[in-house]
């Protein structure tokens, strides 16, 4: 077990490292290929003439004249150990680990911007994950227990329809119905849960529903097919034959086995969503990680894009890691 955990941990670290290298290289390629001084992507302007000594000094201060590996090491050591950021004029800024650099456009540490966005994204992801897990698994279980019934057909056709509905369509439609036509949710601006829980709930309910809709449909289909397979196993017949009531058989014997693969996918899906709820946040104007990504892409603010991508990769890899370990605990057949 210990060996398994260490093996997986090393794998996780390698993946995060590869992501950091690839992302770093992609963004190194931008200034190089577009023949733009990299200073532009950090400050939003190139304040001096090309070739002038002032620009050379500025390029040197940012470290853009160093070889690529040195620049990468500088970035990586900032994340690992923190650094002090200075432009040579103003008071140096202390940036503790993990330091993702400084956004000169926003006049803010990238870490601070990410830390502000994370609670919004997490509110969205956690709430909607609960919704889709409960909704999807119940629909799937009911369908799977009565295959071919009216409930099953409605559930499965409905879920196939839901998979085909993009969030950037359902989102505006929900807003149109509940905010403008019915007027049930007149003000949906975000408020942190610690300050105003009621407003937080009000702002989150539509994003939760539209994001959960898509996943609930996938989970319903998956639960149904797992349930169908499990319920035809011999041990279920044994359980029934020894006189257990249907309820116990379904919940203790059937559902438990059918849900094991669902738990795996659930962990990975939640991990994947960190930083990638771009469209939902865009539709509902939530200032989370996805919103931060898109706005920094529009402003070509490289330090922020780099930071968010790495945070998202870490979240995904950690989710994968946790799921692997959980799976090894649940299923004794798994070995290295």
């Amino acid at each position: 077990m210990i060996r398994f955990i260490i093996y997986r941990l090393l794998g996780a670290i390698v993946v995060i490292w590869i992501v950091s290298v690839v992302t770093f290289l992609i963004f190194q390629a931008v200034p190089l290929l577009s023949h733009t001084n990299p200073v532009y992507f950090y400050t939003g302007k190139v304040p001096f003439k090309p070739g002038s000594p002032q620009l050379k000094a500025l390029t040197h201060r940012f470290g853009f004249d160093l070889p690529l590996y040195a620049q990468y090491w500088h970035y990586l050591s900032g994340i690992l150990f923190g650094q002090t950021i200075t432009d040579g004029v103003s008071v140096p800024i202390k940036c503790p680990a993990p330091c993702f650099g400084y956004s000169f456009r926003q006049n803010e540490l990238v870490g601070t911007l990410i830390a502000q966005a994370v609670p919004v994204s997490l509110s969205l992801i956690v709430g909607s994950a609960i919704l889709w897990l409960v909704g999807g698994v119940s629909v799937g279980t009911i369908s799977g227990l009565r295959p071919g019934s009216a409930i099953d057909r409605i559930g499965m056709t409905g879920s196939l329809a839901a998979v085909s509905l993009p969030i950037f369509f359902t989102g505006p439609v929900l807003l149109l119905i509940f905010e403008y036509t019915l007027g049930w949710l007149p003000d949906v601006s975000y408020a942190p849960i610690t300050q105003n829980p009621v407003q937080w709930l009000r702002s989150m309910i539509l994003p939760w529903v539209s994001l959960a809709f898509l996943f609930a449909a996938l989970y319903a289909r998956l639960t149904r097919s797992n349930m169908l397979e499990t319920m035809s196993e011999d041990y279920i017949r044994t359980a029934r034959a020894k006189g257990l009531d249907r309820r116990t058989v379904v919940i203790k014997h059937g559902l438990r086995a059918a849900l094991t693969p669902i738990v795996t996918i659930f962990g990975i899906d939640v991990g994947t969503l960190v930083g990638t709820t771009v469209i939902t946040e865009n539709v509902f104007n939530l200032r989370g990680l996805g919103f931060l990504t898109i706005s920094s892409i529009q402003q070509q603010d490289l330090p922020i894009i780099l930071g968010v991508t790495i945070v998202a990769a870490v979240a995904l890899v950690v989710a994968n890691f946790v799921v692997d370990i959980l799976y090894a605990v649940v299923d004794p057949r798994v070995t290295v």
């Binding site: 992609i26 931008v30 085909s164 950037f168 149109l176 865009n282 990769a313 890899v317």
Partner: protein, 338 residues
């Protein structure tokens, strides 16, 4: 599945009047009666009985026809999407919204015109189908070529080749691909703003990050197929590796590959629409459903029809592919008893 009742094969055969069709007059349960029916003809028969899947298939055919003949349909209809009807009385001069209750629906513009720019919505939707299908189709083709070739190589040769390809797939699958795609598109878009590059880079990004999924399926299948007797027979007859891979193994994989293709195309359609919605996909004036939705999002309180039309276009097309793919999977699955 029941063991006592007639099996699916027999049921299909019976319905087609095959049982004992002049071959074996005594036994109508005789298994010989269905010999000579290939998997494909059985699958086609089952698919044809699946009304929902066939409806999906018909919608797909219509969609492809609309995309292919968009210029012809546009000429017959007499409008085009490039013309901006800003000054000829279709838009309200005060707020630039289409006149009339239903977003400017009229005899000339069957589905109305867009707010502010005043473009004809029906032709935008027809050309949007073109964009959507071209990008989704080519991206899926790219995933298929990469996934099948690499999956086949990994599964067939095993050893270090397999290790290398499998690890690459694992790493790609645990990448935050959406963010990396967005990053890549931005980078390339910045370097060269030309529209054609955008088209290509979207196809590349959707296709490239999609290949590990099919790659994994193919590799798994090849690992078991390569141990089968017919492969051994081919090898003992002196067939080369390439011949065994492409003439012996690949034909056995057509089923899963076909199902994967019909279920990946709608995903890529959603991907293209999503990128265009975020403003990093297809650039105007090239029409795209996602881009129309993003535009409609600004006016949906006043002009809700403009929101619903591209939304429904995406929904119907994606649903059609999903229904067809689902039916195809059931039809090709010898175990399914639908």
């Amino acid at each position: 599945m029941t063991l006592s009742g007639p099996t699916e094969l027999e049921a299909v055969a019976a319905e087609d009047g095959l049982t004992g069709a002049g071959l074996d007059p005594e036994g109508d349960q005789a298994p010989q009666a269905i010999q000579g029916r290939s998997l494909w003809s059985i699958a086609w028969r089952r698919l044809r009985r699946d009304k929902v899947a066939m409806a999906g298939g018909i919608v797909i055919v219509l969609l492809v026809l609309i995309a292919v003949f968009a210029p012809l349909l546009q000429a017959l209809y007499g409008q085009d999407y490039q013309t901006l009807h800003q000054t000829d009385g279709l838009l309200d001069p005060l707020d630039s919204m289409p006149k009339g209750a239903l977003g400017g629906v009229s005899g000339a513009h069957w589905l109305g015109v867009t707010p502010v720019t005043g473009q004809d919505i029906l032709t935008l939707l027809m050309y949007g189908a073109r964009t959507s299908l071209i990008i989704a189709g080519l991206a899926t083709a790219l995933s298929l070529i990469l996934g099948v070739t690499l999956g086949l190589t990994a599964g067939y040769f095993r050893g270090w080749v397999d290790l290398l390809i499998s690890r690459t797939m694992d790493v790609l699958l645990s990448f935050p691909t959406l963010l990396l795609s967005i990053a890549l598109i931005t980078v390339v878009g910045y370097i060269s703003g030309a529209e054609i590059v955008r088209f290509e880079i979207i196809i590349f990004v959707l296709g490239f990050f999609g290949w590990p999924y099919i790659g994994r399926i193919v590799r798994g299948q090849v690992l078991s197929l390569r141990e089968k007797e017919f492969v051994e027979a081919a090898r003992s007859l002196g067939a080369s590796n390439l011949r065994i891979m492409f003439r012996e193994i690949i034909p056995n994989l057509i089923g899963p590959i076909l199902v994967y293709t019909t279920l990946t195309i709608p995903n890529n359609m959603l991907g293209e629409a999503g990128l265009s919605f975020l403003g990093i996909g297809v650039i105007p004036p090239t029409p795209s459903w996602g881009q129309m939705l993003s535009d409609a999002g600004q006016y949906f309180q006043i002009d809700p029809l403009y929101l619903f039309l591209p939304g429904l276009a995406i929904f119907i097309s994606v649903l059609a592919f999903n229904l067809f793919g689902d039916g195809l999977r059931d039809a090709l699955d010898p175990k399914s008893g639908r």
